[in-house]
Structures are given as structure tokens and as C-alpha cells.
Symmetry: C2
Subunit: 387 residues, 2 copies
């Protein structure tokens, strides 16, 4: 396996865009990534699309060639990858693996979701299909309810508090306010977060990520060829995808996600680094409790210490280990099929030193964690500066 | 790239199964494939699922870990591949490529669709989303209508007749009647086919494939390791996936599918064979005209000669080049996400000499052609006996 680099990135704004369709979002991100890598569409050897529920949200299926052809990419393999909210993480994993194995040199990975054209109850129903429909969904569980159960159990086991959960939201809103691509650029206080409208107790509206439209894209190449296309390649040290049961009731302990632990362990091993070496991370904060679980399951802190660590400001933009400097899914937005690649976009911006007001200082080794459902899929990627 | 072999195959019956859900079908096929390869689930290093529209047909998304975990496969990458009716062809392509490149040794590829739980108008609508929804579908075109336009143009350009189209249906029904896995085991006459209820002129109900439930699975391994698992490995000489525009109106000529021609040319080159070397094939006869196009675009006959070639019996079970000895999508059934892998299952059965009443004699080099939509995706695979 040979080293792989990100040689181009592109992203749309995330938000609620009634005038934009799914394809125009994906094409904008893809074209920006091609431009960033100074590539023509005809140079792309394979097209990887992450998308969770285009047919349900937007009525269009067979999306990979639909988008690729609009970008001017035809002839080559063009496939849609679906792994719930880790759909574009899965596409990225497969793309990196193929370039690393020497199958292709130049590939484009795109992630897109257009969610806001459906009414909220239908959005909730479409998202719920990432869980076990015949089991937990039939019993009435939506994703906020599932993560509320995780939060409640984490509070019971480890003394995690609502203030600690809210501190994640406050921090991510503060970061997102500095991100021009973010869906919700609004600073909030701890008091506001705590007083949010209840969604699924103990989670309030401020504990939940956003329903967004958006797309992100990256171009990959073998590291050894990257200088042909860019003077700022970012190296991919490892990408690992793992899987687990869908239903929470099939997990022995719902305060820890086995797929995340496994992916992280393997990603560290393949990259030759430890959790403590990771300087910053984009983690999958679909709910505030999910960021706390991620801190623990990725090995940044011991199990049960995620809440106090967050509340103490350790994950703040200029804290010892910045988490979700982009604003995370909470503030940046969460167009689900775009999120995995958007996390890579954010890592690359930081490593290149192009993150503007939210630029962090220790920016040479970052991690992205993309979660599908309540942990049935996880993709962990480690990216670093080229020495 | 190293040679890859199919070391295990499994399939459910195809049909209308009100008592079976999507997962139980996929698990049955997957378990049979594991058993056929004498493998335990824990030996599988990656799980590839082809599924077109499980969320729309069956209400469940995030299907890959949902099915993998029910098979006892957790931890490893489990991803759903969607490329319309070529979804499991795309999964197979990616799986073979990964094993060939040395990423994995033992992988399971599964294809499934559960279609009959929806009423027919909704099935038509779900399938139409594999076409250009904002364009041709909004204008009223369903897939039967799109292929009817192709048929009409082919008749105009090349003199293809309704009798020639019907001869494809008669032959595929005759073959399917010998296939215990087939959805519709019914011999029909040319007169019956011609007198079928009109669906989209010139296509009658006998020109259209079936709406089916079903699943198929194959286990892959490096050829050099295949003897550890089976005494009847089948070698994969090449697999190629290609893409094109979705909409018919973006094709310069609708009587030929560029993605099929390109995939075939490349597959022959990689396998070191010519079209004339191919002894038998499973082609994507979603409509009778699609089989005629396939004969031409795969290079078995010149453009325009597919109709007469079929009518002359050249593609019959004991003709010079048997096509769809399984009965094809027309008679075997077409659970769309399962079809690509089911074609591989059928090639392997023939090459192993296990095809029972439909066994053909020259069975050492076969081709499968799996089509997505009206040609925006194509996967061509060439399989052969191990010398």
C-alpha cells in the first residue's frame, strides 16, 4: 500500500437552500475540488459518491452517474455508497483504499444530502430508517430518543451532567460562528443551551445537530504524484471503516460504541501514532452526547471523563485539544451524506493553515470520526501535514 | 493485480414472497454462500451489499451492517453499493478489485431486493428514480416507456421486428422453466408473446422482466488460496464498471449503449479474450430489446443483427451461443439489487457443471452484463474455468 494525499477540496455552504437541488450542490463541491487540484474532469479515474437518502429526500436515485456526468465525468466507475450518516466516510474509505492499493491514481470523492425539502416529521422518519426499523423504530424510537437513552445511561454510570452536554453545544456554536460555510453562525450561552426546548429528555434542541443541505468533495492522488497538482498536499495516514449491530439493544453497553473503539485502535496502529498524538479532531456530534462518547471511545480521555473534559474547556478552539473547530454537526450543519467528506475538508483546511478565524496552532495531525446510525458504522481517518 | 476466484455461491428462489423480509432473503443467500465456501462469518474481511432501493421498497436503510450483523459478520467494513439495477454488479466490481489489489483475501458480496410489498404503481415510481427524474420522468417516461422508445428506434434503423423481440421472451421462458430458482417457470409460445397485453408500444407484458423478491451472494478469494476452501473455484478474468449520462436524450444514439460497449471492450482486453471467444452469457434483459442491444454492444453480432440472430435460435440453450440460460431477468426474475450477483451465481453454476436441466456444453468461458437504468451504469464480468 502506497501513501495517499488529498490534493484538492471543495465545499458548498451548508444550510437551508430552497432554490438549490441535490445535483447542483454536489456539482458545486465537486467542481471546486477539481479546480483546487487543477484537474480536468477527464483526468478522474473513478467517482465515489456518499449519499444516505437521496431517493427519499429528493426523489432521485442512481445518483453517482447523475452527478458525475454533470461534472463532465463519464465512462469511469461511478458508484453511490450508503452507510447512513457515514455514507461519505465509507466512500472516502473505499477511495483511499483503492488509490493506496494502486488501482487508480486520481479519484474524486463527493458527499451530498438535500434534506430541507421534506417536512420535519418526514425528515425524522427518513433518518430513523438508519436504525433498526422492525425493532427500535417500530417501538417508537427516533434518533434523538436513541441518543437520549445513551445520554441518560452515561449520566447514570459516570455522573455526566446536563451542563457538560450543554458545554459541547456552546463550544461548537462558538466555533461555527467563525466558519463562513456553517449553517448556524450563532453564539449561544450555557444558560440558553440549558433552557432549550426539550426534544428527548435530557436532550434539548441545542443538543441536536441540524437538518441541512450541502455537499463536500475531495480529490485524492498517490502522495508521490501530488506535487504535479498542488504545493499543499495533505497526507492520509490511515482510514478505517468498521461495523456493528444496528439496534442499541444488541450492544452490551450503550455508553461505548464498539465500532468507534475498533476503528480508532486500528487507525492509530496503521498510522503509527497514539490517541495522545492527535492534535485536533472533527468528531461526529450528531448529538452533544455523541461528542462526549467520541472523546472517550477515540481514547482522548478515559471512559466517563468526556463530560468534565469538555466542561473544562479542553476541547475549545484554543484549548489543549480542539474538537470540532469547524462548529461540528451542531453548528456547521449535518447534511448527512456530506458529513464524512466535509470532516476531511475541515481537517485539510486546518492542516493547510487556511481555516481563517478558526485556525488552530497545533495543526499537523488531525483525526476525523464519522458515525453511521447509533454506531453500526464508523469511519476514522487520520490526516497529517507532509513533512 | 492478482487473479481472483469465486469460491462460494448462494441464492434464494426469486419470486413473490409475502412472508419473507429483505433481511431474511439476504441472510439466506449469504449463509448459503459461506457454507458453499466452508467459511465461518468471522473469516470474512469485508461485506459488500448491492441494493437499489431498500429504503423505498422496504423502509429500511443502512442495510449493509443490518444484514452483515445478522450473518454474524461485525467489525469489518460493511457498505451498501447503489447503482440502480447494477447495484450488486457495482458491489461485485469493487469487491473483486479489492481482492485483486491485495486489500483483502476473503470477502462476501451480497445483492438483495424486496419489491413485491409495494403496489405496482409505487414499484414503477421507485424504479423510475433510476432515470432522470427532473427530465424524462417528469415528462412521463417510465422504464418500459424508455425501452419502448429504444425498441421503436431500433426497429426503424435496423428493421428489427416484434417477432424478433418476442423470440427473446420465448427463449428466456423456455430456459427459466428449467431453473428451480426462477420466478416464472412457464413455457410460452411466440403467439402468446405477440398477443401479450400492451405495456408501452411496441413492448407487451412478455417483453418486460418481472418484479421480484430475492437475493444472491458470492464469496471471493485470491485464486492462489482457493484450494483451501473449494475444489471447484471459478476464475474471474475481468470485471469492468462504466458510467454514462442518465437521460436517453443525452445519448447521441439510443440504439447503442456507450457504457456497455466501453465495459465490454475493456473487459475483453483485460481478460485477453475476444467477443467471439465468449461461449455463453447472462445479459441484462430487463426488456427483450435490452437483450438484443446487449448482443450487439457486447460485440457478439454487428449492430442491427441482434434481432435476426435471436430469432434464428443462435442464443438458445443448445444454440451456438447460449444467452440467459438461467431464464434471464424475464423469467428468472429481477429483484434489481440482486441481479448483478445472481448473474455471477448463474455463470458459476454453469462453469461448475451444476446447472441441471439447463446445463450447457461449452461452459468454460462466460460473460455477465449488468445494466443500471437505461445505460448510465454497466458492469461486465468475464469468468472462466480454472485450467
Amino acid at each position: 500500500m502506497r501513501p495517499v494525499a488529498v490534493i484538492g477540496i471543495g465545499k458548498t455552504h451548508f444550510g437551508d437552500f430552497p432554490d438549490r437541488n441535490l445535483r447542483s450542490l454536489a456539482v458545486e463541491a465537486g467542481q471546486k475540488a477539481l479546480d483546487d487540484a487543477s484537474l480536468q474532469p477527464s483526468q478522474i479515474e473513478a467517482f465515489y459518491l456518499g449519499n444516505f437518502a437521496g431517493p427519499s429526500f429528493a426523489g432521485q436515485n442512481h445518483l453517482a452517474p447523475y452527478i458525475a456526468s454533470a461534472l463532465g465525468i463519464t465512462g469511469v466507475p461511478a458508484t453511490r455508497y450508503e452507510a447512513a450518516c457515514a455514507s461519505s466516510g465509507a466512500a472516502f474509505f473505499q477511495a483511499v483504499t483503492s488509490v493506496a492499493a494502486g488501482v487508480y491514481d486520481l479519484v474524486l470523492v463527493n458527499g451530498v444530502e438535500k434534506m430541507t425539502s421534506q417536512p420535519t416529521p418526514r425528515v425524522t422518519e427518513i433518518l430513523a430508517a438508519a436504525g433498526d426499523v422492525a425493532g427500535e423504530v417500530r417501538a417508537g424510537a427516533t434518533f434523538p430518543a436513541l441518543f437520549a437513552m445513551i445520554a441518560r445511561r452515561h449520566m447514570h454510570e459516570y455522573g455526566t451532567t446536563r451542563e457538560q452536554l450543554a458545554s459541547v453545544a456552546v463550544k461548537n456554536h462558538a466555533n461555527g460562528a467563525k466558519n463562513p460555510y456553517a449553517h448556524m453562525r450563532k453564539v449561544i450561552t450555557l444558560e440558553q443551551a440549558l433552557a432549550g426546548k426539550p426534544i428527548a429528555d435530557p436532550l434539548t434542541v441545542y443538543d441536536c445537530s441540524l437538518v441541512s443541505d450541502g455537499a463536500a468533495a475531495v480529490v485524492l492522488a498517490p502522495l508521490e504524484r501530488s506535487a504535479e497538482f498542488t504545493n499543499k498536499p495533505v497526507r492520509i495516514l490511515s482510514v478505517v471503516q468498521t461495523s456493528d449491530h444496528l439496534a442499541l439493544d444488541e450492544k452490551p453497553d450503550i455508553t461505548t460504541l464498539a465500532a468507534v473503539r475498533l476503528a480508532a485502535e486500528k487507525a492509530y496502529r496503521l498510522a503509527g501514532v497514539s490517541a495522545q498524538d492527535i492534535q485536533f479532531a472533527e468528531v461526529h456530534d450528531c448529538f452533544t452526547i455523541a461528542e462526549i462518547l467520541a472523546l472517550e471511545d477515540l481514547g482522548f480521555v478515559k471512559k466517563g471523563e468526556g463530560g468534565p473534559y469538555s466542561q473544562a474547556g479542553c476541547t475549545a478552539l484554543h484549548g489543549p485539544r480542539p474538537i470540532n473547530a469547524s462548529g461540528g454537526l451542531k453548528s456547521k450543519g449535518h447534511p448527512v451524506g456530506a458529513t464524512g467528506v466535509a470532516q476531511i475538508f475541515d481537517l485539510v483546511q486546518q492542516i493547510r493553515g487556511e481555516a481563517g478565524d478558526r485556525q488552530i496552532v497545533r495543526n499537523s495531525l488531525g483525526l476525523a470520526q464519522n458515525l453511521g446510525g447509533s454506531g453500526a458504522t464508523c469511519v476514522v481517518s487520520i490526516l497529517g501535514a507532509v513533512a
